[in-house]
Amino acid sequence: MKQTRPLTLANGRLVTPDGVRDGGVRIVDGAIAALGEDVAQDGDEIVDAKGALIVPGLVDLGVFAIDKPAFHFGGITRAALMPDQSPPLDLPSRVNYIAKSGKPDLWVHPLAAATRGLGGEELGEVALMREAGARGIATGRGWIADSGVMLRVLRYAAMLDLVVVSHAEDSGLAGDAVATAGEMATRLGLPSAPAEAEALAVARDIALAEIAGARLHFRQVTTAAALDLVRGAKARGVPVTAGVTPAHFMLSDLAIGDFRTFGRLSPPLRSDDDRHAVVAAIADGTIDVVSSGHDPRGPEDKRLPFSDAEPGMAGAETLLSCTLTLVRDGVIDLPRAFDLLAGAPARLLGVEAGTIREGAEGDIALVDQEKPWVVDRRKMEATADNTPFDGQPMQSRVLGLWKGGVKVD
């Protein structure tokens, strides 16, 4: 659906890369036409923001399912879909189909499988998949163990100027681990791997990316040691970026006590020291992206003994609120929060969205920053209720969402 009539959101607080200021936004033909006070013109559809935040629609980098109600609840207007689908996104036809699947009110940016069947061995037809709509390349849920294959993937990606989204866990060390080695895993008797499995993977991938000159994005970096490696690589000018999901800055592995499978994630929850390191890395800019990792899982995947359960959490609905706790706690400011949630992922994917600026896509969310609510897994919009935040009080809610200037209902 195209926007038929100009829209002005007035009397809000604009969250732009340069700061937060009072004003409104005028959207014409699906794009932001003007920003500031008194931008409304005669004939516009006017929405009174009543002092709420006017923010870019979130760009969720690396989700495992297209789950529109949950995305819209969470203010997400674009989602980069991981190739771990059934069947995997390793053929242009599949990419082409999925790229159109969310329109008009949710744009799906497929990430092409780096290797056929995500097997980690043969390269996928990445260039053809790019023509079909892929906005990046991803290794999937797993790491590509063969360094030779990974180097070829990165070189190919560099040639095509596509970002490579990597999962950083050394598969030899991680094995069948479902928890981070430490007191909690030991008490529960769970298969565990040392947290250093992440740093090993990050070190190798950074080295290979430097050889290849490729843009490398770690979907989740969750340990102090790996974050130090990313920090160092950035200082050397390597085009490496890091992401994380709220679980790893909100929770530590204490959350898997009593074998709660909603806390079974990949990578697994870490120690509280690592959680603090993630918060510090968000503060100092080492972490560029916060995404939901949205992976709704029903009881057939989760109501199992911990090590038999599938990893993943339904995170789309809580992404915004969790991230804004970092603003409340003074870790980051509002413009930076929305760079983590929208600006940076849009840049990585190469899409003209994710910021409130003239000429950008009219993907807008209206957010009440103070509105309290409680996560209740019985009342979720997502297709499954696997949130580790059940019962947790949250702040800030999306009041309204527009995709390309058209209201999302």
């Binding site: 007191e183 529960l188 008797g189 565990s192 074998f259 109501r303 199992l304 911990f306 090590s307």
Partner: protein, 364 residues
């Protein structure tokens, strides 16, 4: 309406219970009635308070005597059904639970479900709900995944007993080990209710051992200090946070200890190679007569079984009549399991003092 009926049936049950049950309960040393053990199930030692562990041991003592009589049958649990749901192969634990149930007069049914066949279709919870629908009065579960028993507990109406879940816990093993140790010390005239001051060394595959975890918790709750010894690959991270002192060198771990508990290598739980060979393992961690001399002069030797003679323990050590209490552990297993099943079914049997359901001013 039928308050009097309830009272009637209660006293009926109680008289039946007291007819079949040896005396000795209610000594006044433990909280009265159901407060002595306010748990619906036995999923692990970690959930138990020290006095609750002592209570189960106290209850088990009567069954030790009972089991030594020629007539080893009572009708305490007559009419009740106990299902032993073993999702992992077991001989001795299954047999021990089966004998325990039968001696208490319950109908015992064994469900052998090799884990692979269950994995093909029905989920664990569906299986549990099926067992529940058959009106089991207690379900004993062994499963290869840590936390499997916790998962089932709460989804079924009857008490659940953990007979070993993955590498997590094996509470009845720790209880029977404590009882066997108590008896052995008693015979030497060193008997006490608990193990204050005792040094116990547990050696073997600590990483994969549920017996080690339950014993670390149980022995420490009873006052012992615990050393654990394993090659680094079989030593779990953060074990010292559980209070145990880790050792790599077996000789150092044995130095002056009062009890040596040897564990089997759990090859079935290992993925990949953790030790080069059993010969090499024996060289470093096998309990030989010579090594045992490093322990206290009369140190006791324990093993939860099944033993791999010549690997973690030499035959001449395992068979030392005055030092090895390995067969006594097996004997105590039946008594401890009888006590656990008895205590956990008391609410269903409405014993005096156990009538009130859990959750009224108590925590689950």
């Amino acid at each position: 309406m039928c308050l009097s009926d309830l009272h009637g049936s209660t006293s009926g049950m109680a008289s039946m219970a007291s007819a079949g049950s040896p005396p000795g309960t209610g000594s006044g040393r433990f909280p009265a009635g159901g407060h002595a053990f306010p748990h619906p199930s036995l999923t692990g030692i970690a959930q138990l308070e020290r006095h609750e562990i002592l209570y189960l041991l106290h209850e088990a003592e009567q069954w030790v005597e009972f089991n030594r009589q020629p007539d080893k049958h009572c009708d305490l649990l007559a009419g009740m059904t106990i299902i032993n749901a073993f999702f992992e192969n077991s001989t001795r634990t299954l047999l021990s639970f089966e004998i325990a149930g039968k001696r208490l007069g319950a109908d015992v049914v064994n469900m052998h479900a090799a884990q692979s066949s269950v994995k093909k279709g029905e989920t664990l919870l569906d299986t549990a709900i099926t067992l529940n629908a058959m009106r089991a009065d207690a379900i004993v579960i062994r499963h290869g995944s840590s936390g499997a028993v916790d998962l089932i507990d709460g989804k079924v109406d009857c008490p659940v007993l953990n007979a070993g879940d993955g590498s997590h816990e094996h509470p009845t093993q720790a209880l029977l080990d404590a009882l066997a140790l108590r008896h052995a010390l008693d015979e030497r005239g060193e008997g006490a209710e608990d193990f204050t001051g005792l040094v116990v060394t547990i050696c073997g595959d600590i990483a994969h051992s549920r017996v080690a975890r339950s014993n670390i918790l149980c022995l420490q709750a009873l006052g012992a200090s615990v050393r654990v010894c394993a090659p680094p690959a079989l030593m779990p991270a953060g074990i010292e946070m559980m209070g145990a002192k880790p050792y790599v060198d077996f000789d150092a771990a044995l130095d002056g200890c009062d009890v040596v508990m040897m564990l089997r290598l759990q090859a079935e739980r290992m993925s990949g190679q953790f030790i080069p060979s059993t010969r090499e393992y024996h060289h470093l961690y096998g309990l030989t007569q010579q090594r045992l001399r490093r322990a206290a002069p009369d140190a006791l030797v324990m093993h939860p079984g099944p033993m791999n003679r010549g690997v973690e323990i030499d035959s001449d050590v395992a068979d030392m009549l005055d030092r090895s209490i390995i067969t006594r552990q097996v004997e105590m297993g039946v008594a401890v399991r009888m006590a656990c099943v008895d205590v956990l079914t008391r609410r269903a049997r409405q014993l005096p003092g156990w009538e009130s359901p859990l959750g009224q001013g108590q925590w689950k």
